[in-house]
């Protein structure tokens, strides 16, 4: 008997756990070996919703769970967006609409492992955005840095080498949103190995401080998340992290702990917003090194 899972009306960073709690238990075990996703309620899905949905499907596939979609209202905006993002082509074997095609503002969903990430960042993500912004690849150092720190962080701390990434450009809003999700151990679980007294929210905030390290690896030295948040806030952007019971938003105004209003997220999801009109295009300029 297949488990029927209703998607929320609006799927974003606030509602993704609604989907996860119906499909995966806290010990990272699939709740059923056959799932039907009921997309009838879905009216809106944002990049984080797409990333987490995809990450969930991929992860359940790896566990041998059979999955299919029930889509009564094919004309809903969210369904069109998913179709144009090539989501159904990838997961159901065919597009819903023949004319569905990747929007110029969307970088297709990518299930990516660490060794591939450097080339993907350079040859796909940076090249695509440079073209969309009519700028040089050299001027997108902040975006590069965010992606580098994100992928290196997943590799160093999640216990996984793979993440699911989706990038959406909003030209009118002059912003780019990057979402990356993994079903690894999660940031709070890592931090609490050395600071068990902290809440999940406090643990994530601590992990973003320069130099805090759990010493799980010599590679990171506790600065990856610090540089990520520093890069984003210098740009006037925002980074939201959900991991375990934590939901932290970091912006130029500091940290907001929204954990009380959120449920449990299995693994970690990052939602990064960068302002394309605030990129520091001088970062890759030649400069003589001096102490």
């Amino acid at each position: 008997m297949a488990l029927k899972v209703k998607l929320p009306k609006r799927m974003n960073i606030l509602t993704i756990d609604h989907l996860l709690s119906q499909t995966v238990d806290k010990s990272l075990t699939p709740i059923s070996d056959e799932i039907v996703y009921d997309l009838a309620p879905l009216e809106f899905i944002d990049p984080t919703g797409v990333t987490v949905f995809s990450n969930l499907i991929e992860w359940l596939l790896s566990k041998g769970v059979a999955q299919r979609f029930d889509i009564p209202n094919k004309n809903a905006g969210a369904i069109r967006f998913l179709d144009d993002s090539l989501f159904f082509e990838h997961y159901a074997g065919k597009k819903i609409f023949n004319n569905a095609s990747l929007r110029s503002t969307t970088l297709p969903l990518k299930w990516i492992n660490h060794p591939q990430s450097h080339l993907w960042i350079e040859n796909h993500c940076i090249s695509w955005l440079a073209k969309a912004l009519e700028t040089s690849k050299k001027s997108l150092v902040e975006l590069r840095m965010c992606l580098w720190e994100l992928f290196n962080n997943i590799r160093d701390h999640s216990g996984k080498d793979t993440g699911c990434i989706f990038v959406q450009f909003f030209p009118k809003l002059k912003k780019i949103v990057i979402t990356l999700s993994d079903f690894g151990i999660g940031i709070p679980a890592n931090v609490k190995k050395v600071r068990p007294e902290l809440s999940d929210g406090e643990a994530v905030i601590l992990a973003m401080q320069e130099g805090f390290t759990t010493n799980t690896t010599v590679r990171n030295r506790g600065v990856g998340l610090f540089y990520l948040s520093q890069t984003v806030t210098n740009n006037g952007g925002e980074v939201s992290i959900r991991s375990g019971n934590a939901h932290i938003i970091c912006s130029e105004y500091g940290y907001s702990d929204c954990s009380q209003r959120s449920g449990y997220y299995t693994g970690t999801v990052f939602e990064i917003m960068l302002r394309t009109d605030k990129f520091d295009r001088t970062l890759a300029d030649d400069e003589e090194f001096e102490w």
Binding site: R219, N220, R221, L283, E287
Partner: protein, 97 residues
């Protein structure tokens, strides 16, 4: 004086392990009391993991003063310089090196 160009030694300046390839040579050269000039020709920016492997390892072996006196960085950019200094200054203060 030993001249090194990062991209002659590694395919990319991305991971901690990429940085270790460079720092192994720098550490060996410092042990021989030679100075090093390190060129970032062809590289616009580096992440913290690479900086940790490339520079913090050298710091842990020799301290900041030795690096200042014996390591020159050339063909660099604003971001690379900022990352190197930020990582070395922070780690030297944290570990009194």
């Amino acid at each position: 004086m030993v001249n090194l160009r990062v991209l002659d030694l590694v395919k990319q300046a991305y991971t901690y392990e990429d940085g270790v390839v460079i720092s192994d040579i720098v550490i060996r050269t410092f042990h021989e009391n030679e100075k090093v000039t390190l060129s970032f020709y062809g590289i616009d920016a580096i992440p913290s993991s690479f900086a940790n492997g490339c520079f913090v390892r050298v710091l842990e072996s020799f301290g900041l003063q030795k690096i200042k006196e014996n390591l020159s960085v050339i063909d660099s950019t604003k971001q690379i310089n900022s990352m190197i200094k930020s990582r070395l200054v922070f780690e030297s203060q944290r570990n009194d090196l």
